[in-house]
């Protein structure tokens, strides 16, 4: 097999930044205590977690006690939706949940379960052909009994960025909790929760060069929310379980670096992304960009190719040494067009031929150019296959 591989799937996950890894190491064997313990081992661990909480809070522009550490972005979304919906039901008999149709499954499947098991009424917001939610559509649908609204900050499949601050302002006016899944956005966009007018915001560390297995949820002080995982009193009674100290420390460091290096990272990624998008659309017939052409993540390029088997294209790319992703590909060989691409109104003939190329700090111009030379031939092959 090829020994040289080019990783172009940073939206799926990122390698851990060596500085982050170094930050984590002492908490496995030296400062390994349980933050809940009374002794000094525990005190040191507790200090580590609280320091991490402060670091994350600085990046979010919130108070430390508004940060809840979780095990991943999906858990954060689950806690936000289920916790806020059930609390709103209990406090004001709210029954309506409003989400976009292009949410990550962590949000949409949670909302669907709430509708199925707890009799919530689930309503989907319309999106435009770039997958964007318009604030006026939210305004039209807000009700007194709306329990929670959830609109993702930036979409993982198509990269489109939503007008979160405007939607948040509308919800705030009506006193309705507003959640945004910022798992994909946090690597590159500011996540100032005050500016964004959000009550809940989900993060996952591994999308921004932190480790897998740790995430966080911002919960604005005063937002009614019930715990989903019950047990000990960790995380202000919102998330039971012994704190994952090394990973929490790693997440905080990765998040801190993402804030202070944001401009540098974007200035590396965006020109590469624009070169990639431009060349693909020029060189490949019957190709379309999915998502918004401008208001999109700086490292994110996504396409559909008419009549192409997206799964076959991914295989061909992998064998040629390029690791990419797609909205329709599925590891079990049972491809279905993704909900997101169908929500954009793409016919299945196009939606099954999707390709997502996401760049990272290790991506070089040479790698992008090598990819661009290989892609047209492989797309043609996948059209025939």
């Amino acid at each position: 097999m090829k020994t040289y591989k080019t990783y172009l799937d940073y939206a799926a996950t990122t390698p851990v930044d060596p500085r982050v890894l170094e930050t984590m190491m002492p908490y496995f064997r030296e400062t390994f205590g349980n933050p809940s313990s009374v002794h000094t081992y525990g005190q040191q661990a507790e200090a580590t977690v609280e320091e991490a909480r402060e670091t994350v809070a600085r990046g979010l522009n919130c108070r430390p006690e508004e940060v809840v550490f979780t095990s991943c972005g999906s858990e954060s979304d689950n806690l936000a939706l289920r916790g806020a919906a059930l609390a709103a039901r209990r406090e004001r008999d709210a029954r309506h949940i409003l989400i976009s149709p292009v949410e990550h499954h962590a949000v949409s499947h949670t909302a669907q379960q709430l509708a199925a098991l707890h009799k919530f009424e689930l309503e989907y917001l319309p999106v435009d052909d770039a997958g964007k939610v318009h604030p006026r559509e939210v305004a039209k649908r807000l009700r007194d009994d709306t329990a929670v609204v959830s609109v993702m900050y930036a979409n993982n499949e198509i990269g489109t960025i939503n007008p979160i601050a405007e939607i948040g302002a509308l919800c705030r006016e009506r006193g309705i909790p507003f959640h945004t899944d910022a798992v994909q956005a946090a690597a590159h966009l500011p996540v100032d929760v005050t500016a964004l007018n959000v009550d809940l915001l989900a993060l996952g560390a591994h999308k921004f060069y932190g480790p897998k297995g740790v995430g966080a949820l911002y919960v604005r002080a005063g937002t009614p929310i019930l715990p989903v995982q019950t047990g000990g009193g960790q995380e202000h009674n919102l998330r039971a379980g012994t704190s994952n100290v090394p990973y929490i420390a790693g997440m905080a460091e990765a998040f801190r670096l993402a804030q202070i290096e944001r401009e540098v990272r974007i200035s590396h990624l965006k020109p590469l992304r624009d070169r990639l998008i431009g060349r693909v659309l020029e060189d490949i017939p019957s190709a379309r960009l999915t998502g918004h052409p401008v208001t999109r993540l700086p490292n994110h390029a996504s396409f559909v190719f008419e009549g192409v088997d997206g799964n076959a294209l991914l295989m061909l790319l992998d064998v040629a040494g390029f690791a990419c992703s797609s909205g329709s590909a599925c590891k079990s060989g049972d491809p279905k067009p993704s909900d997101v691409l169908l929500a954009l109104g793409l016919p299945p003939r196009w939606a099954l031929g999707s390709l997502r190329v996401t760049l990272g700090m290790d991506t070089t111009l040479e790698a992008v150019d090598a990819f661009l030379s290989a892609l047209p031939g492989l797309v043609e092959k996948a059209r025939k296959a």
């Binding site: 097999m1 799964n311 076959a312 295989m315 992998d318 060989g333 049972d334």
Partner: protein, 360 residues
Amino acid sequence: MAETKRVVVAMSGGVDSSVAAALLKQQGHDVIGMMMRLWSEEGSEESNRCCTPDAMALARRVAAKLGIPFYAVDAQSIFHGTVVREFIDGYTHGVTPNPCLACNRYIRWDFLLNRALAMGADFLATGHYARVSPLLPAMGNTLQLLRGVDPLKDQSYVLSILTQAQLGHAMFPLGEFTKPQVRQLARDFGLPVAERAESQDLCFLGSSDYRDFLRRHAPGVDQPGPILAKDGRQLGGHHGLAFYTIGQRKGLGIGAPEPLYVLGKDAAHNALIVGTVAELGGQTLTASSVNWISGELPTAPLRAQIKIRYKAAEAWGTVIPIEGGRAHVGFDFPLRDITPGQQVVFYNDEICLGGGLIEA
């Protein structure tokens, strides 16, 4: 070491294909694992025995352990359009089809082979127990399909549909081994394979019986009709021709002085023909869609060892090639269960010469 080739291995998560992949990797080839997602009935999409989620997870682990890439390939619609369609059509027309053979013909050695070639592969390998002879000028530069060395496992029968072009891209790494040796190899390679119970059930039936499947997919297949003796006397009634097999004795629901067996099916009159054990069997058959693996039609009748089912004992006989891709076969002694729709396969000792479909 032989020249390095890019080889796609059809993986199933089972011992055989896993060991095949490991052997090819060990031989230094550039190996890619592929597993096809085959069709199952709606509502039991996960239950095709050839590609359950567990089997796929296992194949994926084997591939990871070997350090080879692994891809799942969607073959659901082509599988349905060929293998399942033929299965239903066969039963509708009173014959007993062999879907595994159809799968090799349409799916493995056509659809998947083309996928492999499109990936830049030189070969498609499977875990079948069979061999391909080396290409020798003495053999007229013709490739031969040979039996696997393990007589208990030989699978050349289901490969009798292969052409020279397909054989030229085929690799059967297990052909030189016996099943116990392959199990030992799996242990030696440290492969995380589970021993799947060998089942006669068809992969796409999931947990359902083929009769229920046919009732769902071939309305009219359970059309009752008469049970007739060879001389035309009506002895009883049947519940649908598809639900009986040649040679079957039980379940006919007829009281008779001596046991009666299913002799044949008269699809045109929807009649089941039964008779005594003495009447059962025949000494000749006609085969259609005959494939000669050499690619050349024999010019004279030939003596061969002949199999009329995958697991049938071989019988000596004479094969007379006739026009239109057909052949007459005469056996030295009568055989009991010559079943229309099954494949008849001809051997010259180790060499699988080809085969065809037994006509009604």
